[in-house]
Symmetry: C2
Subunit: 193 residues, 2 copies
DNA sequence: CTGATTTTTTGATAAATGTCAAAGGAAAAG
DNA sequence: CTTTTCCTTTGACATTTATCAAAAAATCAG
């Protein structure tokens, strides 16, 4: 694959916050593998330990697990974000999280092991890693406080406000699970407005 | 203050995971200020932008905010962990999180600005930062999945299982808020057992 | 276009949790 | 020791949300 094909929008989106040197950039790109996947493709199937980090250039993924026979959607990841099973990647302990693509997607994968080598060798890549994880953490704080003491209706209205696009791309069954409510409850909330 | 007084248990607890050079260690210690505070002391009062990171050598803190006139306890932090308002620290945008001490505590504070300077100068300190944030994120994942689809009773039993000490140190009103339920509901859950 | 499949809505009812008020208990202060 | 304050429990009732079943609507495959 030609170097010139390896343009990743990611560097543009973080460049205001993290300076990544040309050498680091090309080191990163050398461990990133770009692939096209169809809708429904499972990046991390059940039973696998997630040992890669995925950058979504185009498309949409969801992370989910099964509880009491039902699929619980933990998270959606869209263009220009990373996804992986964080607990599995860093602890190397299998969890039951699966990651599947909800749309035809362009995904850059990198092995977590190789990424860790880059962390050793390039300070600015480590910074990038810290930056990504820190941002993720701030997002989780928001999410947590939503679930802790907001009603289902407030959570739904928040989503409509902050992430209207997602509603157009994802079926309501998955959205309801993400919000921590049943599909029926979501339907009733929507019909109130 | 003598260097020899600046022993921090933290380095011991992370040393299996992150190697920190003697130089980095002393650079870190040079920006850390150790203080004793009484029970009830407010590290981050309402209206302040949290611009410090606090390491708890001894004691216990809680992070809380006010919603609809009620205090919501977002988090507890115990010995050998860090606390700060992550959203405020990294975005520099005021949030309404306060941090108070629930016990007489020994706290090491460091200014976030100075920490960022150390991140620039010492790769291994940046690694340490990434490590701390990543662990925090994994904990948040657990917490989130608890709130997303577990009943109040399951959440309480989880806490008893995973963090029995906390129950002995913190009043039930704060615990219930942390679990996302009312004090009355918690009381009833407890009386069932 | 048409039948099959999936998604969404609606209804009836049950379970979980919240709210308000008050009573008991425990801990702190004098 | 006694009083005051704070913490916890209990009761009655309201509200939110889940569950189960079925109908309606939308999407997909041929």
């Amino acid at each position: 694959m030609l170097k010139t094909e390896k343009k990743v929008s990611f560097f543009d989106s973080v460049s205001p916050f993290v300076k990544v040197s040309p050498q680091s950039k090309s080191a990163l790109l050398s461990v990133m593998v770009k692939e096209h996947f169809p809708k429904g493709h499972v990046l991390v199937p059940l039973g696998n330990i997630c040992r890669h980090v995925y950058y979504i250039e185009k498309g949409l993924s969801r992370t989910f697990y099964i509880k009491d026979g039902k699929e619980i959607t933990e998270n959606f990841c869209i263009e220009n974000t990373f996804t992986c099973s964080m607990p599995a990647s860093i602890t190397n302990i299998p969890d039951n999280r699966q990651i599947e693509l909800l749309e035809a997607s362009i995904i850059w994968s990198m092995s977590y092991t190789e990424l860790e080598k880059l962390y050793d060798d390039y300070h600015d890549i480590e910074r990038l890693g810290r930056f990504v994880v820190t941002n993720e953490l701030v997002g989780m704080h928001q999410r947590l406080s939503d679930l802790q003491f907001r009603s289902a209706e407030e959570r739904y209205n928040n989503l409509v406000q902050n992430n209207p696009t997602l509603l157009q791309r994802v079926s309501l069954g998955l959205i309801s699970s993400y919000l921590g409510i049943t599909q029926e409850t979501l339907s009733r909330i929507r019909s109130k407005n």
